[in-house]
Amino acid sequence: MKMARGEGLPITGREIRLTLPLDEVQVRALKVGDVVLLNGPMHTGRDSLHHYLLTHDSPVPLEGSAIYHCGPVSLKRGDKWFINAAGPTTSSREEPYQGDLLRKFRIRAVIGKGGMGGKTLAALKEVGAVYLNAIGGAAQYYTRCITDVSGVDFLDFGIPEAMWHITVKDFPAIVTMDAHGNSLHAEIEHASARELSHHAERVTL
């Protein structure tokens, strides 16, 4: 809480503080628009990991866990890894995989930027999971929420694509897709489309 306040995020007292891993009841209680502060272990994953997990087991248990769509900048000092920057990456790239992985591993939270599509939304509802939107470009802010890097798997995928096991404290995110079929991203797209159609006049020289 102190971290979030110290960095200028306005704390209203209505934020929901969650400790990972999550259970289904906690997740089903969340609604689009809720701001959560995550605490505990989470795992990063991008295209390579999602592709891999479709056909393989996870090296760590993922039930109730949070997958963070993130390709960090990591440095090794001695035997210990440190994360220099860890902002969210584009979640829509994982749309072909995410729903299946939610069902297979019972992941409860997906964190990323930009939202995901209908296939994921259906899986969130079925499994009891949420999509949490983090702010793209604010990598340094999120990095300060990381208190530990407990390990890494699949380093051969490259640093950004590896599965980093991190521990966070008061990691803020907004529920933009909930376990009840609501998606703020879909709503915004429809609203934007309506506005865009007002600007459909021909462009002439």
Binding site: V73, T89, I188, S192, E195, L205
Partner: protein, 336 residues
Amino acid sequence: MWGLRTAAHSVCAIPASRISGSRAVRCQPDYTTKEMPHGSIQDQHVLADRRDLLEPSPDVRRAINGARERETQERRQCLPWRPSPSTWTWLVMEWSRFARTPECRPLRSRPGRCHQMAMSAAIREAIADATKEGKLRPNAVDSLTGKNSGNNLGEGAPVIHFEQWEKDEVEVRLILKGGGCENKSIQYSLPAELPYLGRADRNIDGVRNASCTQCGRHRVMVAASVQSAWQSAETGRPAITMPKSSSSERSMTSIRFPIWRSWNNTSWTSQHAGNRTMDSGKGNPDRLQDRSISPAPASFFVSVAYDCWAFRRLGVVLDPSTGAIRRWLYKEDTRL
């Protein structure tokens, strides 16, 4: 007198990395972990991060030798200054500090009387150093093997543009491109039926669909009427590019505003749900620069790229005879 050993050898290293650097890495995957032998290329500083180049295959050796020959000849010619990698390293470090969130891509420079190969080598050197320091994320991935080079160097990485000009100074601009800015860029060919907009003809009328669905935008770049192979380079330029026929001020105004109005009035950036102030270049025509491109007749692609709100760039103007920094760009003047 040149202080150029470093620059000279880094020039030699360019063709090697371009021709088969990634192949060398693939064939000898653990080679980079071995102690660096001291061979014909002596400058350890230059090659500290390029160990894979030290025992190249015969074709690479030929390329290196050829480059060395050429470089020696060029050295005798009229080149008053070559950048040292330390200059570039420093610039990239400074830039990274400025940037804070380092995920990188294109670089841009406008050389006056300087050696482009030496500059490229110095830039690549600095990129590798900055990556090693954790200032930049390793983003150069071989498309075929999926292997990350680990040092941000690879085929086409970093992206470096050179443009000669008449001014007696060297201008260097560095731009960081993050992921969402890249993978959410769009391209479509005209004529087309655009979602929510209807028919888009094979002319400027079709240049209307610019959706940014990830980060809030700082700057949107549109390239129109360009062969598809040019799209990436053109949208990476700090300008809005438009077809030649639209180069008059009057017509540009008439084009700009429908486009910008629609961008600025829609909540098109879904990440910042409901936030309408998503374009920090909003409504400011000064941010647009128009360039004309002559397309092939039947090729009308529209490409839309953008820089996100955390737009990160830095630039310097260098003295071409000494390499000294005359002034910084972007540090005070935030206009594009």
